[in-house]
Amino acid sequence: MALFPITSNFEGDFVLQLVAVDTENTMDEVAAAAAHHSVGRRVRARPGQILRVRRQGSEECFPRSMKLGEAGLKPTETVEIIWEAPKH
């Protein structure tokens, strides 16, 4: 367990933000921590959609249950937090 700073690039928001998370956090928890600083402040919630995390520039999101410490990210590296509509 270790505090780990990431840079959040949240879909629909205008600025990168510093977000403090933990290496033990899952990607869903990372997304929630980032959402705390964007959703309801400058980005509208999207009911029914979930948030996914991906490395900047990547098309592929990290698995939702993957722990941050397993993702190979560097401290302060930028991740994109992306809205995803539920798959039917």
């Binding site: 700073p5 840079t7 690039n9 879909e11 629909g12 928001d13 205008f14 600025v15 990168l16 933000q17 510093l18 977000v19 403090a20 705390h36 600083h37 309801g40 402040r41 400058r42 980005v43 509208r44 900047q56 560097k74 401290p75 302060t76 590296e77 930028t78």
Partner: protein
């Protein structure tokens, strides 16, 4: 006794180079300070300043200018312009004085470097006058706001800002330290006078003078017009230096300095002047949008200045032309949302009428920045103020030290431009910021941005209170909404009408 005409003696009188015999040329003009670019002294003697002025002429003209500006101030001191001004206009003054006044004193030191260390006699003469100009600008822009300090504590930041770690001041210092405090004489002439002053101070001073007159603040309008007349003279110091460099095969080095300085100046003006023109200035007083002003006064004029000089447009010109319609909207949203961290009170500038103006000037504004403002406005109208403030830091660029931002909403294009250098991960707000850093990484690598300082534990406690204390923002100085959210009443009324129907 007949007096010779100035042009009969000027060139001879300012030919003050000599061949040193007791010391070497490098001891007389240390290359680190002088910036000789490998050119001998006689190459610099060809420097020919376009604006020739003698000291007696300078003193006479400056005396008249001072008499004009100070007498307007004295005449209007009891007019209660400050008390009656729109709060958005007061914020313009506070932002301007804090960001500029002490920088003028610093610029006097940069001019003094050219005055002592330039190998070009003409440059030494011009920058002697330029140095006196900058002292004058520093003095005026501290004296004029001082009468308001007793009425409004934020006005004290005219003097205080430069000594603080407030984030905008870190950005301003980083830029000015780079282009004028830590460069040789010739580089100062290119980066400060040609790039920054020719390229950009027209905008801050001419644009603001017009806005000030519109707002009825004739003291401020006269002050900055008076300053601009000096700027337009000493801004010409760099041009002949560029000519010497280009004629002697140093175009690439000259171009690089122009490119770095122009980009840094642009970023600083995007946060300082952009919000003022498009958001703080009351709608009825706006003549042009920031983009229109940039296109008319900066882009067209600066393109001509560059090509006349034999330089190319900076390689990033297309990026710059795109940015002038975008970046300042983000800078405004950033300084508004993080308003407790600035020394003025940002005006939101987003009433329905103002939004219609923004949409007209910047088609697509409502689908982009407007989408974020919709959420902010709802929170203010609902009284949900906790959500109308931040709980973390924006990530800032390791070059310009300003928030890394882009266009939000339906055209979301925010992007980090990272670079790993000597094991440290740096973040940049654009390809150009990263390029500037890469030109001389060791020059910039050791600097800590406000976020780096936070992560290094230099800001304690690690919360908003700790950050405000670190930035020297005392209670009564922190920014809040310029109009105390009065603008939200329009939206409340609109909601009530909608509900009733």
């Amino acid at each position: 006794m007949a007096v010779l005409n100035r042009m009969d003696w000027y060139d001879l009188a300012r030919t003050t180079n000599w061949t040193p015999t007791y010391v070497t040329e490098d001891e007389l003009f240390p290359p680190l300070m002088s910036g000789n670019f490998g050119l001998p002294q006689n190459a610099w003697e060809k420097y020919d300043e376009p604006y020739k002025q003698t000291y007696p002429e300078y003193v006479k003209v400056q005396r008249d200018k001072d008499a004009g500006a100070y007498s307007v101030k004295a005449a209007l001191e009891r007019s209660r312009i400050f008390e009656n001004a729109d709060p958005g206009w007061k914020s313009v003054m506070k932002a301007h004085y804090g960001a500029i006044a002490r920088g003028e004193y610093a610029a006097a030191s940069a001019e003094a470097r050219m005055m002592r260390f330039s190998k070009a006699p003409g440059m030494r003469n011009m920058s002697t006058l330029g140095c006196l100009d900058e002292v004058r600008h520093g003095q005026m822009q501290l004296y004029f706001p001082h009468e308001h300090v007793s009425k409004d504590r934020q006005m004290d930041w005219a003097f205080k800002a430069y000594d603080t770690n407030e984030w905008g001041m870190i950005a301003a210092r980083h830029f000015f330290d780079d282009i004028m405090m830590t460069r040789d004489a010739i580089s100062v002439s290119i980066m400060l006078t040609f790039s920054f002053e020719t390229g950009f101070t027209n905008m801050q001073f001419l644009g603001l003078a017009a806005d000030a007159a519109e707002a009825g603040d004739h003291t401020f309008a006269n002050l900055i017009s008076s300053i601009q007349t000096d700027e337009s003279r000493h801004a010409q110091i760099g041009g002949p230096a560029l000519k010497v460099l280009i004629e002697n095969g140093q175009k690439a080095e000259a171009q690089k300095r122009v490119d770095i300085a122009v980009w840094g100046a642009w970023k600083l003006f995007s946060v300082l002047t952009g919000p003022i023109m498009d958001y703080y200035t009351p709608l009825e007083h706006r003549k042009q949008s920031f983009k229109e002003f940039m296109e008319e006064w900066i882009v067209a004029q600066f393109e001509r200045a560059l090509t006349d000089m034999g330089l190319d447009l900076p390689w990033y010109w297309d990026i710059f032309l795109k940015d002038i319609a975008e970046t300042h909207h983000g800078m405004h949203m950033g300084s508004y949302f993080w308003r407790p961290t600035v020394w003025w009170n940002p005006a939101a500038g987003v009433t329905p009428d103002e939004r219609a103006w923004l949409e007209e000037k910047y088609p697509g504004w409502n689908d982009t920045w407007g989408q974020c403002w919709d959420v902010i406005i709802d929170n203010v109208v609902d009284g949900n103020m906790a959500m109308a403030y931040p709980e973390t830091l924006p990530y800032v660029c390791n070059m310009c030290q300003l928030p890394i931002l882009g266009t939000p909403g339906k055209k979301w294009n925010v992007k980090d431009y990272p670079l790993e250098y000597n094991g440290r991960l740096y973040h940049f707000g654009s390809e150009v910021d990263r390029w500037c850093f890469e030109q001389e990484p060791e020059r910039y690598a050791g600097h800590l941005s406000i976020v780096d300082r936070f992560l290094a534990g230099m800001i304690q406690p690690m919360d908003l209170g700790g950050a405000l204390a670190y930035m020297n923002l005392a209670p009564g100085e922190c920014g809040d909404d310029a109009h105390n959210y009065a603008w939200a009443e329009v939206y409340r009324a609109l909601r009530a009408t909608k509900k009733a129907s």
